[in-house]
Symmetry: D2
Subunit: 397 residues, 4 copies
């Protein structure tokens, strides 16, 4: 049994606590911290948490605490990480790790220098679908990954601080792009260096400083592309989808709006439908088990097992730092309008990873460009001559 | 922490053990029983279970056991229930409870007379989608439930005993109809008496005595219909869907083949895709978290919490008995070719439940049959005169 | 170019006329008949039809008319068929042909005795999806057809006469079951005799005499089942789906609510969405080309080509008569609560069609019941001994 | 009746001819031209075309020809357009219009100077789904269009010339990006000036000079983005999807792989499934009516009606020229790695179109950033003070 200090009582603190306590869990949130003593007390009462406090120092340094979960706004992460690391506790920090790579790197150094366990709570790489898809990719089911599109869009976040660029570090990119970028990185391979980014970002709808809509492409050293799409202006609920294109296959994941649960209701009070749902009547698309579908369940299972087993979790602060570095380049590109290099002074992955894709030989003289079955049942091949480069086609039976 | 004796080491024993141990569970299978000492030993080793035995008596009566889970073929349920009840243990029995209602009733009486906790392991009413859908229905989101279609079809079960009518009690109906019937009962209301059944059953494909395909309709006292569709001859994987039609809404659940995970693979070894999947290349539809999607996770959570809380679980042996009584009538109808009454000498639900449906008044003289928006934008109403019964239509703006 | 007399100016007359005139058609509605001269005149003006009349006799007997399309309420079909046949015109009658088999048989005899071309306008067997699915089935793609589920449900028809049992001949079964029955018959084989029916029918919601919800099963001589599901109480739009289960495959068709067009709209005036849609905001599921999706386009193409080519169309009055005979038995079964034989004194299909399904041999002594890949990667077979009937299993690599 | 000269006997010539002749069409291909007299003869025989020739001049200048359809490789378009324009015929040219904007502009000038009718055969803006979606957008159903993602990917084209950059003008962008760009332009508004492009393009898989995978973003003057995704390396068939995000709604169109037709087949010869399908067994997703789903049917209907009515078709050479100009900028950006301006010396749309998006006032002092329903049922608003810019939140009941 692990005893956890939960820092933060907002929506994410609530989701985390529910996920930690859910089903027949042997772990418990043992102390909750909020900047407001009242909110801490209410939260403790609601979730039957024995201790609560408005003192960060107390929360992170109690003797009866094994691990600290940081579920506070982005501008508070660094302070919390420092305090928890200094207290020698395992530190679990919500996404994004920092508001920028410099901040993230300092947090990485803090936990490493303190020698404490650290986990980056990137839940969306832990959804059951993503975990199974990653196993398929790693087993070679779709060949080399060429391109990943990861998309998270909804009508905008629920708390004021998200909309304040100083506190959050940006807009939709820092809020949700961090998910999309790390999802793509998992599919493409976390050992493959992300090289450069192009990014469009704009404030299309809301009266804010930060971007509310953005699309970016991250080019990896092996030629693969990780595309992120984020919006706080999407209508229809929360769209959470990943598409992975490989040389030998394709994977499409829909995590939220189309998961096999469809409901039409003529109206009346139907109660809570799903996170960020926009309507309560007509056709609705609830999600069966939201904490599981968002990856919380499997994330805490992996991270807490990692603490028990004294191993590294699937995602740690180094991953959070890489994500922040990519986001920094994305913001730079959105302003400069050129592909911006990703600045990664600390790189722990592979170097000189080979290019994706593999050319197939057709015969001694030709490379195979394409093979297709035609409507009349015949098979046509398109070939390239190895030396002349001439492209020809012929029908084979 | 609850210590569990697992009876059975087949596919269901395996799934149950995985579900009980999964994530950060505080419960453990503490002893495993198999009719074969070897299989018991191998199973114990695989799942790190401290004790194993080929003695049923020992398994159910150990002092260090809190609860017995029966995961053995149908013809062994009664013997196991009797032994576990006599030993004073909580008894959790897989579906179907008995091979027929008489057997089920004796099991119900055994646990009730022994005064032990009993749970009927009907996992499919515990899928996260089903639980959420039931909450929506109970909150009135779709009005009165008029009709439920529950369907489970696949290419046939994995063990020999299922195909032997003496051991299993029948074919696809007893194997899977038990799920469908109880799903419909949950949506329609477990307090509403099931009155009669009509059923088609045939052995269309396999060289067996029992039915490999069947469709039946159960009429409830309030006029609602629970339709079950089962087949061991379905091609394409496992089709697990529910449809619920209400006076004010509709619910469609797809638990297996279309859950938002789509994968194309050009081939090669892709490994295990999903329970009862039929292909390993082309378009595949894996399920992210199979134990959760099948309800095992939430089922054991509810049942073990019920033991801790000394309350009745969502499904107990009485429910298993009702399901067996409905199945008995279905088999009778398949032979007699008439609607057969459901024989339920022990009925603990309501009597004289009112009819589904409610007529709306249009004005003092007319009842509203229908209101529709036409292609040209106008609204048409169809009315019935209260006294003359004449049907008329008119356009309202 | 064919010149057509359109009888009827209601929704079906409108849809038919649009389908006949659509795109670059060479055919034209040349005269329109309505019981109301005003409606005939308005309709003619709207669709640029040169002639209109309130005289049935004039409409069917004009010299400049090649074919008569009957789009009037069910109780008027026989009179129109008689008149058109007497005038020697090609007769195209909407579904259902008659209100019962006796009426349908008289209509069949009328056109056959007059020697005129006759087509049964069963549009739903002509949807592009259905046509392609039928070609796949006929090419053997799914083996023997074992079971067909055809479903049409919506919140109820748009005109008063549908709700009047005397005029229409019944309720949801005669209105929509006629589609479902003929769809199943096409998949199972129109030469296979439908033998008997069981049917549940009830008036669950509306203040009418006729059934507003029904499910029936038609057993064919070869053991195949055609299941129809119809409702005037469905909420959420129009649900139009077919499922076909074969020994070697499966086909699922969704014609209306999920065709790859999804729209969320926060509200406002969005205009006509789709036939029988129930909402104008939230998630909507429009159909791209409604006349095509409903089969009108391909139906008229086949029927008018058949007139030109002097051949029989895909569906003629004989098919309409068979459908009515099945419906008669369904109504009888709904009352008698037993399987009712289908009375088909005129049967033009095959006799003694062999049973569906084919048993596979495993080795000299055993029949193969089942073969499955297990989670651990092994393959298990379930076998039946040819002489003893014993069921065994073994693992093969 | 229009008599058409078809230039080209490849796949596109075949599809066009089928679409022109389909159903009860009053138009006919009257003469077919191929560079090979044999292919012209075979084609004429197959489609019952009265005349065939290997002389381009003859084909375009016959007296009995009303219109010329150009279905030849890209490098031949200009020559054909010049010849047909000189002959005074209506000219219908397949996509892309030119290999680059200079070529396209010369073709535009040729037809305009000759005063002949011209249509750009961009079929994908004519799919029934697209047409209906455009009507919804124009009626305001989704508010201002913010972003369009149009995607066409498949395993590569069927003829050798596509793979030859000299003949085609490029790779996947010129081949399919032309569709995606014009689809987005239709949704965003053809009168809104496309300003600049960023584009990633790579040759990831095939041994060719041109790109086989690319993603680009086109920024329009009003701030809307048209995103195109094209690949010749996609596995799983042909993925043809559009997504449109608006301030008040969302539209998702799936034209090919998920249209409500699903088939599982255990194998055997199932015949032609769909254009660019990759497998013949397992789960397949055929398209009911391919020419209609690809827009050919409605495209020719509009274009030929436009000839009859002496009006401009939905898409003409000017549109083809704009698309080429955008593609030119995309290729430039793929090389330069910066956003490239779109060079449009001839611009016939609006100037100074207002920005998308509209800010909503909450009260006299605040603008509304967001309104959300929370899990506990409350409603939270996020506000921005008009003068201070401070972001706050509060709960409203």
């Amino acid at each position: 049994m692990l005893r956890i200090a939960m820092l933060g009582t907002g929506l994410i603190g609530r989701f985390y606590t529910e996920a930690l306590h859910e089903k027949r869990s042997r772990d418990r949130v043992h102390c909750v911290y909020s900047r407001s003593a009242d909110r801490a007390g209410e939260f403790a009462a609601q979730f039957q948490i024995p201790h609560h406090t408005a003192s960060l120092q107390e929360a992170v340094s109690r003797d009866d605490i094994d691990a600290v979960v940081i579920g506070l706004p982005n501008h508070l992460h660094e302070e919390c990480v420092s305090a928890a690391a200094a207290a020698g506790k395992a530190v679990l920090c919500t996404k994004p790790l920092g508001r920028n790579a410099a901040e993230a790197l300092r947090m990485l150094q803090a936990v490493e220098q303190a020698g404490v366990f650290h986990a980056y709570l990137e839940d969306l790489v832990y959804t059951p679908k993503t975990l199974k898809a990653l196993r398929s990719v790693h087993s070679g089911a779709i060949g080399d990954v060429l391109w990943v599109r990861s998309r998270e869009t909804h009508p905008g976040p629920h708390s004021d601080w998200f909309w304040n660029k100083e506190l959050s570090g940006g807009g939709a990119i820092i809020d949700m792009g961090c998910h999309c970028i790390e999802i793509a990185r998992n599919f493409i391979g976390k050992d493959v260096r992300p090289v450069e980014v192009t990014c469009w970002a704009d404030t299309q709808v809301h009266p804010i400083e930060a971007e509310d809509h953005a699309v970016g492409m991250v080019r990896y050293e092996n030629g693969a592309i990780g595309q992120f799409e984020v919006s706080w202006a999407f209508r229809g609920g929360m769209d959470l989808r990943d598409e992975v294109a490989g040389t030998d296959g394709t994977i499409w994941l829909n995590h939220w709006l189309r998961t096999g649960f469809e409901m039409f209701t003529a109206g009346g009070q139907t109660g809570y439908v799903a996170e960020k749902a926009e309507s309560e009547s007509g056709w609705l698309f609830p999600v069966g088990d939201e904490p599981s579908a968002l990856g919380y369940t499997d994330m805490f299972s992996d991270v807490l097992n990692a603490i028990d087993d004294q191993r590294t979790p699937k995602e740690d602060f180094y991953d959070g730092y890489v994500v922040n570095a990519i986001i920094d380049a994305a913001y730079k590109s959105a302003r400069s309008k050129i592909w911006e290099p990703i600045d990664l002074p600390v790189w722990r992955g592979h170097e000189n990873v080979p290019r994706v894709g593999a050319v197939r030989e057709f015969d001694a003289e030709h490379l195979l460009i394409k093979e297709e079955k035609m409507p009349d049942g015949s098979r046509k091949v398109i070939l390239r001559h190895k030396t002349t480069g001439t492209v020809t086609q012929k029908t084979v039976e």
